[in-house]
């Protein structure tokens, strides 16, 4: 059950909210342009807007705190969930695929990677970098932004703009195809005959000879989902990172994966050559960061959508569970849908009440007044709590409770059987325990064929695990659910309570 703990009114989140409020107040026009979907909008460019917001950020600290507090009282109006246009805008702002123009809370990591790439481009030297972190921590998103930033910086600083090659390793049919892809981009005119070793050798030859390679531009290669390249002999991964060690190599390699120790475990040889890739870790988001990102997304909208405690609850829960930003966005959208459903239900109730009112004239119209008081405007704490429990709950308890009686009895007999510390047993033994329970409680048992069917159904649902065997009786059975879950689910029925004691 999600606990509804209130924050102690600390001042830091207040300040952040003020900043975003003030920002919305200052530049309403630019922010609304920022949020149009990329399909429709052609004039928005990330650079001008990011510069604009950066300037705003730098302006605010100079303002006096008194003025800031003043800004707080000019709060935004609440939204109208009945308006479909507003609903669509809000859902789009919270959708995972809507990339914000600035990547908030990742400024440090982005700066480190950008500095590294800048050095490489300036000195026309190759290098490798490894970005790691749990899913949903903004790695791919940051690298997307980085590409544009690097190219723009190179243009401004007068260096040769590097080529950019993004590769996602899940799209490779064979792991060695990655070299074909790298080569294919660098040497459009030459036709490679397709064999992977020659692609790799071609690259290796290219990077060992000075006159040929200095004509090629630097290439920024971003390799996403790097662990798909790991094969038994780790050759491909090694060769890929070794490409940066050649004397005249032209590639800046950035690898992205989830495992923190990938570089240590799979690339030990590089350390001896003194060119281990630099590691940038994207830590899982904590509560404040998630809150900041959510507010950032919602700040562009001219109305308030969420009650502030609801957003805090979401951030707290998601940060405690995984720190995955996608999850937080999903939960927020789910909460909005719950609000929508409530709105629909109340409007149908309202309609039926007005009909009733028309029928019974003598009753004073207290019903519409009551409904007005329960005006559904913002997403409240209870909506968010329901959305969180829906996302994080396992359906196991519900399913066990809704199983038919004999399936429950069989599950109970399995739990009792495995209590003694045994890990698995055969179907024949399980059937015997089932018969014992039925006999002791005078319930007529089902036939042997039906018992086998029940075992199979429970196996399909993931509650038991059945092994393979020619003979039905000697199949091995293990319990897949926790004993505590079964006991909890069936505690309402006295028979099972006694049975499981």
């Amino acid at each position: 059950m999600p606990t509804i703990a209130r924050s102690n009114g600390d001042s830091t989140p207040q300040k952040r909210r003020l900043r975003s409020d003030a920002e919305a107040k200052d530049s309403p026009i630019s922010t609304t342009v920022k949020w149009k979907s990329p399909r429709g909008c052609s004039s928005a460019s990330p650079n001008s807007l990011s510069n604009g917001t950066e300037r705003d950020f730098s302006d605010n600290p100079e303002r006096s705190p008194v003025k800031k507090n003043f800004g707080k009282f000019i709060s935004k109006p609440k939204w109208n969930p009945g308006d479909t246009e507003q609903m669509r805008e809000v859902k789009e702002a919270l959708h995972v695929s809507t990339a914000p123009s600035t990547v908030v809370c990742r400024e440090d990591e982005q700066k480190r990677v950008l500095e590294f790439c800048k050095v490489c481009v300036e000195q026309e030297k190759a290098g490798s970098l490894y970005v790691c972190g749990c899913p949903g921590t903004g790695k791919s998103l940051s690298m997307e932004k980085l590409k544009q930033l690097l190219v723009d910086w190179a243009k401004e600083a007068g260096h040769r703009q590097p080529d950019v090659l993004p590769i996602n390793c899940t799209s490779l049919a064979k792991t060695s195809d990655i070299f074909v892809k790298i080569l294919g981009d660098a040497q459009q005119r030459r036709k490679v005959n397709g064999s992977a070793t020659s692609a790799l050798q071609h690259l290796q030859n290219l990077y060992s000879q000075n006159p040929r390679s200095s004509r090629i531009k630097m290439m920024l290669i971003i390799v996403d989902e790097l662990d798909y390249l790991i094969t038994k002999d780790r050759a491909v991964l090694h060769d890929l990172f070794m490409l940066t060690t050649f004397p005249f190599s032209r590639c800046i390699l950035i690898g992205i994966a989830n495992a923190i120790d990938l570089a240590d475990r799979f690339l030990p040889r590089l350390q001896s050559l003194n060119c281990k890739p630099m590691v940038v870790t994207f830590r899982a988001y904590d509560k404040d960061q998630i809150l900041k990102i959510l507010r950032e997304r919602l700040s562009a909208l001219p109305y308030i959508v969420f009650q502030p405690q609801a957003l805090e609850l979401c951030a707290r829960k998601v940060a405690a569970a995984s720190g995955d930003m996608r999850r937080a966005l999903c939960v927020c959208r789910s909460a909005i849908e719950i609000l929508e459903a409530e709105l629909k239900e109340s409007s149908s109730n309202f309609n039926s009440l007005t009909v009733e009112k028309a029928c019974f004239e003598q009753q004073t119209a207290t019903a519409p007044d009551i409904l007005k008081k329960q005006d559904i405007d913002v997403v409240r704490l209870d909506h968010m709590a329901i959305a969180l429990s829906k996302t994080y709950r396992t359906p196991i308890v519900d399913t066990i409770q809704s199983l038919p009686q004999h399936q429950q009895i069989l599950l109970c007999s399995a739990v009792k059987h495995f209590r003694g510390g045994k890990k698995d047993t055969t179907v024949g033994e399980l059937k015997k325990s089932y018969m014992d329970i039925c006999k002791s409680s005078l319930i007529p048992p089902v036939g042997s064929l039906e018992l086998s069917t029940i075992c199979r159904v429970l196996n399909d649902q993931g509650l038991l695990k059945l092994g393979q065997s020619r003979d039905d009786k000697s199949k091995r059975v293990t319990l897949r659910v926790d004993e505590a879950d079964v006991t909890f689910a069936l505690q309402g029925i006295r028979f099972f309570r006694n049975c499981l004691q």
């Binding site: 995972v96 996608r326 359906p395 519900d398």
Partner: protein, 388 residues
């Protein structure tokens, strides 16, 4: 129309209904809390708001997941005629990534009248899929991927799931991924990358409650009043049906049947049998039809050879009535049919008569079998009752 002819037509109508899943699941879909409305709401909001979504339908086999999905898709095709295209994959056939991408490419080609090349490589097919998703996104057409037996797609490297869910993370595509599985922990089987991209919506298909069951039975078995059947016959039929449905004994029969497997599919099979027993002379369904159907469905082939058991029992009581070899033969028959088995696995040097033997079927089954065996001698029944 003669009574019997009307009854025959009614029987055909009922049997046709029981075989049509879309008819059966309609009443369960009327309330706003039902899975039908929730699913429809999610898909239609994805279509109208042009955003991506993913959802899992979970529930035991035979609880109507695909039936409800088909109902929803049919209704959506009527509401949004050109804005939806459906791609269907099955975990049994397409769990291999190469195969799956080829099938997706083929279905997309068929849908959009393009030429499909069997020689296209894995890379080509995946590029094609991403390009098509982008094109459909620009044309505001939503692609719905239906993945049947979703848990089988989660074996191996899960490349198909990753590519699909990753394509949905970009704003250029408009797709809905619907996974159907009977494993309740299907989303725990996903890799953490894939799980992070999945939107964690789950719809549970639980067995119907007792009230829902009553409503369902009424809906399926009531005859329509405005068909080719004579009206007064239909009215009388429905009245008798309502009486029977409210009867406690009928409810007891149904609940005992559903005690071992409560899915709708199971119930339909039972109803089909019961309806087939309808007496064409009277033209009405009666409680006896249902009671006859119950043991017929639950009967097992072993009970049909209960004659052998009878002879064994007789020999123990009246050993000089039957010849010895008849007994031995009967004994061997019983052993072959696995009604009894030897409790010790020691050698065959001991003669058959003196080895201890245990009964493999329960005494309850034995009783039921004997009762359904019409020509069972009374002495045997008395013996069973005494021992029970």
């Amino acid at each position: 129309m003669g009574r019997e002819k009307a009854a025959k037509e009614a029987l055909n109508l009922l049997r046709g209904r029981l075989c049509d899943p879309t008819f059966v699941f309609k009443p369960l879909s009327d309330s706003p809390e039902s899975n039908y409305s929730k699913l429809k709401f999610i898909i239609s909001s994805s279509v109208t708001e042009a955003c991506n979504n993913s959802i899992l339908l979970l529930g035991p086999r035979g609880s109507g997941k695909i039936a409800v999905l088909e109902l929803v898709l049919k209704d959506l095709f009527l509401e949004y005629p050109d804005m939806i295209s459906v791609i269907r994959l099955s975990g049994l056939l397409h769990s291999d990534d190469n195969c799956a991408f080829k099938e997706i490419a083929r279905q997309l080609c068929v849908e959009h009248d393009l030429l499909f090349s069997k020689m296209a490589s894995f890379d080509d097919n995946s590029q094609f899929m991403i390009a098509m998703l982008r094109e459909c996104g620009l044309a505001h057409k939503t692609v719905i991927f239906v993945l049947d037996e979703f848990d089988l797609f989660a074996q191996g490297k899960q490349r198909l799931l990753y590519s699909l869910l990753d394509a949905m993370q970009s704003i250029t595509s408009q797709a809905v991924v619907i996974g159907v599985s009977c494993r309740l922990d299907a989303d725990q089987l996903l890799e953490k990358r894939v799980r992070s991209r999945f939107s964690h919506r789950k719809l549970m298909f639980l067995p119907p409650s007792k009230e829902d069951l009553q409503r369902l039975l009424g809906h399926i078995l009531s005859l329509p009043l405005d068909s080719t059947l004579p009206r007064d016959y239909a009215v009388e039929f429905n009245a008798k049906l309502q009486n029977m449905l409210a009867d406690e004994k009928f409810k007891q029969t149904i609940y005992t049947y559903m005690d071992s497997d409560a899915t709708v599919n199971h119930l339909l099979r039972f109803l089909f049998r019961a309806v087939s027993y309808m007496d064409l002379g009277s033209g009405f369904l009666a409680l006896e039809n249902f009671k006859t159907a119950l043991p017929n469905i639950q009967r097992q082939p072993k009970l049909e050879c209960i004659t052998e058991y009878k002879s064994i029992h007789d020999t123990f009581q009246t050993s000089d009535y039957y010849a010895r070899n008849v007994c031995l033969r009967a004994f061997e028959h019983l052993q072959q049919r696995e009604l009894i088995s030897f409790t010790d696995n020691r050698g065959h040097n001991q003669s058959v008569e003196f080895r201890p033997v245990k009964l493999l079927i329960s005494s309850y089954e034995l009783q039921k079998g004997l009762k359904s065996y019409r020509s069972c001698p009374v002495i045997l029944l008395k013996l069973m009752d005494r021992e029970a």
